[in-house]
């Protein structure tokens, strides 16, 4: 199995380009996807190990974080180099812009960076850089290697569910304009690509991962999978935001 949860006690291995995931912290719901971005393999990775990662935070960039799950296939050295190059070319000025916003006591606009549907949008004259969701960032890194991890149809999600999957954007998602700019403007259900799906894609043999994409099922937003998906749970299951 090439996807697994990290634990506090049993160290596991991570290599350049592996997909890392953060859980919601109170359940097995996976809410953030990243790429492991260290040159040397680590064999000491537990749920408390600080790791160098690259991700679409937002902003797009590098950081040091712990990981709750790892998905991987055996990448060749060449493929690792290509992932490193992909990370190096994904530059934008969002971090500096964020500081400018802060200086001017303005709120940063998440629409500048982040898209939810589709999970990656190519550059345009208005936004002269790739925009991703955190999942889109990982998907693009692997699709550049000709490894397509996911394929639709994807389970459709309501706005309330999306707020659970994107806890950092929960407030912004209440704004119709922001939602629209992120690709979830019209309709009531959206087929978004979620972090848990990536882990389930990796949780196949390497041959299967390379041979073809994974089509997710309801409940795959959790890792390990749960028989019922987020929408069917009472709200109180999902942490402080729901309890108030």
């Amino acid at each position: 199995m090439s996807a697994q949860r990290t634990t506090e006690s049993t160290p596991i291995t991570a290599s350049q380009g592996d997909m890392l995931a953060k859980s919601s912290g109170i359940s097995d719901l996976m809410v953030h996807a990243m790429l492991f971005d260290e040159d040397n393999e680590r064999t000491d990775v537990t749920s408390t190990t600080q790791l160098q990662i690259a991700h679409m935070g937002p902003p797009l960039g590098r950081a040091t974080l712990t990981s709750d799950a790892i998905g991987r296939i055996d990448l060749s050295e060449d493929q690792k180099l290509r992932i490193r190059n992909f990370v190096a070319q994904c530059k934008d000025a969002s971090d500096k812009r964020k500081k400018e916003y802060k200086k001017r006591r303005l709120r940063a606009d998440p629409r500048e960076l982040y898209v939810i549907l589709p999970s990656a949008k190519s550059p345009t004259g208005d936004f002269a850089y790739w925009r991703f969701s955190c999942v889109g960032f990982v998907l693009k890194a692997y699709s550049d290697l000709k490894v397509v991890l996911l394929k639709g149809p994807f389970p459709e999600r309501t706005l309330e569910e999306l707020k659970t999957f994107y806890p950092g954007l929960a407030e912004e998602l209440d704004d119709a304009n922001t939602r629209s700019a992120m690709g979830i403007g019209t309709g009531e259900h959206w087929p978004v690509e979620l972090v848990g799906y990536l882990l389930h894609s990796f949780a196949r043999s390497d041959t299967e991962v390379i041979a073809g994409p994974y089509t997710p099922q309801p409940g795959d937003e959790y890792f390990p999978r749960q028989s019922t998906s987020v929408g069917s749970h009472p709200r109180k299951w999902f942490g402080k935001k729901w309890k108030k």
Binding site: D78, Q79, N85, Q89, A93, K103, R104, L106, F127
Partner: protein, 406 residues
């Protein structure tokens, strides 16, 4: 201001609060008394209403206190004054000043010493505020120099307590004009506000940088786009050889925005920016951004063809050719630079009617280079470009495919 009003004011949050000060004062902060001698004069004045929320629209000075003084009746230490007058630009960098004392001649009372507050100012509000303040001072001094009566409002960090804004301000009589300060924070969201900073040669450097950064995430149409391209072109021209990481971020932002919006008639001029001079060469990150910019422009935005861009083609060819050695390709950003250059050359050659088979030469060299993963990366990215181009121009996509297949 009466003491009663002052007492009342001190308990009120400053945001949106309107109170009275002498004559047409447009902007200032409140603060505890630091110039007691001026208090009486202040009280004699007629009051004009002002809106303190302007302070907050700036978003720069969350906690401030002010001292108002007339430069006409104020002494500036000669050594400092010399630096002031010697400065040709209005964008004075306060950090360049080691010490500035302004004293009230009546009592020889030292009103302010900038050197002593600079550090804490920086710590609290960042360099931007310090620089901004410096620009203001320059304006004040300019007023004084023109023999006009001016009023300076000097700000310094107050206490760290939040939400309170002690209001007891000081002003002199006979103050016909004070700085007119326009709200600063909102312009970053407006294309016109961004253009105003980019086009204004007296704009403060921090504001120009911010304008470049925010231009990248705003749409510019029609005449505004023309103005943006001109301004960004000028910025790139002036900054393309920067080396420090902070400036590179802004430069790369300008390059991306320019490349994705430029007209086809700009392509050849764009190529000039990729060329080194006799004494300077591009930072490898800026070089990658230039290559990426033209690559993305050709891949994601429509362009007419057939068309010939001999300088751009030659420049990209030379660029890629120079990095296609195992010794270089693994260093810095050279692999990405060469890859973007290769993809761009595929499209340029496909769009040209006078093909010189440059891509074929480079592909042969790429294979001879023996770095397999790089060749795969180029092919995969060319395939991706073909896919995107085919969505808008199937014929061109087929031409690129032919070039790709040799």
């Amino acid at each position: 201001m009466s003491k009663a009003l002052a007492r009342q004011s001190s308990k009120v949050r400053a945001v949106g609060y309107v109170y009275k000060v002498p004559k047409p004062i447009r902007f200032y902060g409140g603060g505890r008394s630091c110039v007691p001698a001026l208090e009486d004069e202040y009280r004699k004045e007629e009051y004009t209403e002002i809106d303190l929320s302007a302070v907050y629209r700036y978003g720069i000075f969350p906690q401030i206190r002010s001292t108002a003084l007339s430069l006409k009746s104020t002494c500036v230490e000669p050594s400092v004054a010399r630096e002031f007058w010697a400065c040709e630009t209005s964008a004075i960098q306060l950090r360049n000043f080691t010490n500035l004392s302004i004293t009230h001649p009546a009592g020889g009372h030292r009103l302010w010493e900038i050197g002593s507050v600079k550090k804490s100012w920086e710590n609290l509000f960042g360099q931007h505020s310090v620089d901004y303040f410096g620009a203001w001072l320059n304006d004040f001094v300019g007023e004084a120099n023109a023999n006009a009566t001016a009023m300076a409002l000097l700000f310094s960090p107050k206490s760290r307590c939040r939400g309170r804004f002690a209001l007891q301000e000081w002003a002199l009589s006979s103050l016909p004009r004070v700085l007119q300060v326009e709200p600063k924070a909102d312009w970053v969201h407006e294309p016109e506000g961004i253009l105003h900073r980019l086009e204004n040669r007296d704009a403060y450097p921090d504001d120009i940088e911010a304008a470049v950064l925010f231009a990248e995430v705003k749409p510019f149409r029609g005449e505004q786009r023309t103005r943006l391209l001109k301004a960004l072109g000028k910025y790139i021209d002036q900054h393309r050889f920067v080396e420090d990481q902070d400036s590179l971020v802004t430069l790369c932002s300008a390059i991306r925005k320019y490349a994705m919006n430029m007209l086809e008639s700009h392509f050849e001029g764009y190529a000039n920016w990729l060329l080194p001079t006799e004494t300077a060469t591009l930072h490898h990150e800026a070089e990658m951004e230039f290559a990426k910019g033209i690559c993305w422009r050709l891949e994601f935005e429509p362009h007419s063809w057939p068309a010939e861009y001999p300088l751009l083609t030659k420049t990209l060819f030379d660029l890629v050719d120079s990095y296609l050695t195992p010794r270089l390709i693994l260093q810095k950003s050279y692999a990405n630079t060469a890859m973007f250059g290769m993809v761009a050359l595929h499209v340029l050659e496909a769009a040209s009617t006078t093909s010189k088979a440059l891509v074929a030469k480079l592909r042969k060299r790429m294979m001879d280079c023996g770095v397999k993963w790089f060749a795969e990366m180029v092919d995969d990215n060319v395939d991706e470009a073909i896919q995107y181009i085919s969505e808008r121009d199937d014929v061109l996509a087929r031409e690129v495919t032919k070039i790709r297949q040799g």
